[in-house]
């Protein structure tokens, strides 16, 4: 039996510390990792917790991130509660195995501390790695602050391990801006946290020696399509209701309310920015300030990036006149991914909204409140004109001559 840890009601934790305590509290059986900045403290802390008797678990140092996720896949197929963490190039090296994990329907929780992908090498936060994972078949939950990084881990385990879901889940947080920023985090007791997620319920585990199974099979043309369709069916139909149910239970337990789509000041908003990560909170502050100046500004935060809550997002944006999709990743050759998602979401609806795209914050470049004020000001002009008054895609916070496309 692992020792319990007495926590204060509010601990001043950074996002990494918060995530690692969540892994401790749900008593993860196996963490296999190849540590990488800025996610290192998550697995390092877990290793410390196991070494000091606070978790009955196993920390496995592997030879690469590819090995780390492969080891997680093995441990999950064997029937354990499994988690790890990575960032950036490490995430990129994991990609091949991410598809195996989701295709094999294994509930693994991956904490992704979002970081730029080189070259040039950069340890700071942007969303390049998160975007790279978006077709991998994983559930992707997004944190805006250390409190979210803590809470969403519990949601991730609960949903991922549900027998109607059995899909792996990523919990994203912004490198440094969340992972290394200490803020007050309301804690759960070890008991309450564990009970919220519950005892791991195995399903077809390899270590059930009386019922030997084969995981990781080959299916050629005659089966592969149906198998992938079935995976997509589960991701598209089972996951959002389960996340909603987990959010509801979590609110009952903690009073903290999460939504599939976070809508702030959106009831009567004429202009809105859609974004992810810490930018959501900064944008909320700016939206409040814009409202004080008479601009009906709102913010839509993407909480669940995959599966994409298309209907819910369309609903919160339906009456808005001008929308900006903020992408913290270089789209390299097209419009930003969020711009594309929002376009796809609003196409075929009655919206008359004008949609523009801002690329910002690459490699940790600061998104200042002043930047957001200028975005809201652009949006107001678009809303008043009823058409796009700026280029479709603009770079914000970039030095040198203005860069824009379309």
């Amino acid at each position: 039996m692992a020792d319990t840890m007495e926590l204060r009601d509010i601990e001043v934790w950074d996002g990494n510390m918060a995530a690692s305590h969540a892994l401790r509290q749900v008593q993860v059986d196996v963490v296999a990792a190849y540590p990488i900045t800025p996610s290192t403290p998550i697995v390092e802390n877990y290793a410390g917790f196991t070494a000091n008797g606070y978790v009955d678990g196993e920390f496995v140092m592997t030879e690469s991130e590819h090995g780390a996720m492969s080891c997680c896949i093995g441990a999950a197929a064997a029937g354990g509660r499994v988690a790890t963490a990575t960032s950036s190039q490490g995430f990129a090296l994991m990609v091949e195995t991410l598809y195996s994990a989701s295709g094999m329907r294994l509930p693994i929780v991956l904490n992704v501390v979002n970081r730029a992908i080189g070259a040039p090498l950069n340890v700071n936060g942007d969303h390049s790695d998160m975007y790279m994972g978006r077709d991998s078949g994983w559930i992707q939950l997004d944190s805006y602050c250390p409190q979210n990084a803590y809470d969403l881990n519990f949601i991730a385990f609960k949903v991922s391990e549900d027998h109607d879901v059995r899909l792996p889940a990523m919990v994203h947080q912004d490198g440094f801006m969340t992972s290394h920023t200490a803020q007050g985090v309301h804690t759960l007791t070890d008991e309450a946290a564990f009970n919220f997620v519950g005892v791991y319920q195995p399903m077809n585990d390899m270590l059930d020696l009386d019922h030997p199974v084969t995981h990781g099979v080959q299916t050629e043309e005659d089966w592969h399509f149906e198998h992938k369709a079935r995976q997509q069916h589960a991701l598209m139909t089972a996951v959002l209701p389960k996340i909603q149910a987990a959010f509801d239970d979590f609110e009952k337990l903690t009073g903290r309310k999460y939504n599939l789509v976070e809508a702030y000041d959106m009831e009567d908003a004429e202009v809105a920015v859609v974004c992810m990560g810490t930018s959501v909170e900064t944008a909320r502050e700016v939206a409040e300030e814009m409202r004080a100046q008479g601009i009906k500004a709102g913010v839509v935060g993407i909480r669940v990036f995959r599966p994409w809550p298309l209907e819910q997002i369309a609903a919160v944006l339906k009456d808005v006149k001008a929308i900006a999709a903020l992408d913290r990743s270089s789209p390299h050759g097209t419009v930003g991914a969020l711009y594309n998602e929002i376009s796809g979401t609003l196409f075929n609806t009655d919206t008359k909204a004008v949609l523009t795209n801002y690329i910002y914050g690459l490699g940790g470049r600061d998104l200042t409140k002043a930047h957001l004020v200028s975005i809201f000001t652009d949006l107001k002009a678009n809303a008043d004109a009823g058409k796009v008054t700026t280029p479709l895609q603009q770079y914000i916070g970039l030095r040198g001559p203005k860069l824009s496309f379309f």
Binding site: G103, R105, D210, H211, T214, T219, W223, E226, Q231, A234
Partner: protein, 137 residues
């Protein structure tokens, strides 16, 4: 159990090796194991063969090479003794014949329709090494 079609598989394309629970599977002989339809044990590849290996126990030294090298686990051995070939799963590749070290070989390939008794009667005798080879040393 009925064979599952494309719409019958479990999530993750996980396959069950056996029907129901099993105990001490390692000490149970293959023919006594409750293999499920999704296990390849229940699928025969006998019709893949054009030639088949036949076994002549008179020359066999039970070295187990054939058992080790057969890619389809079709060499039947009991108590470390070669006793024959599993013709449901032998695909006729000839690897066992290739690796058999005896002289003459204890395994030889024959046409699929060849009857065993005739084959044994025609089994080649021990080959003498060529004179040229002996002189070379």
């Amino acid at each position: 159990m009925e064979k599952k079609g494309w719409d019958g598989f479990e999530i993750g394309a996980m396959l069950r090796s056996f029907d129901g629970a099993t105990r001490d599977i390692a000490t149970t002989l293959p023919e006594n194991r409750p293999y499920s339809v999704s296990n390849s044990f229940t699928a025969s590849v006998a019709d893949w063969r054009i030639e088949k290996p036949l076994f002549n126990k008179d020359y066999c030294i039970d070295c187990q090479f054939c058992w080790v090298y057969c890619p389809d686990m079709s060499i039947i051995a009991r108590d470390k003794k070669m006793i024959g070939i599993d013709f449901d799963h032998c695909k006729g590749c000839g690897i066992c014949v290739e690796v058999c070290p005896t002289n003459p070989k204890s395994l030889l390939m024959f046409p699929e329709q060849k009857d065993e008794e005739t084959a044994l009667a025609e089994w080649p005798k021990k080959e003498k090494k060529a004179d040229t080879e002996e002189k070379e040393d």
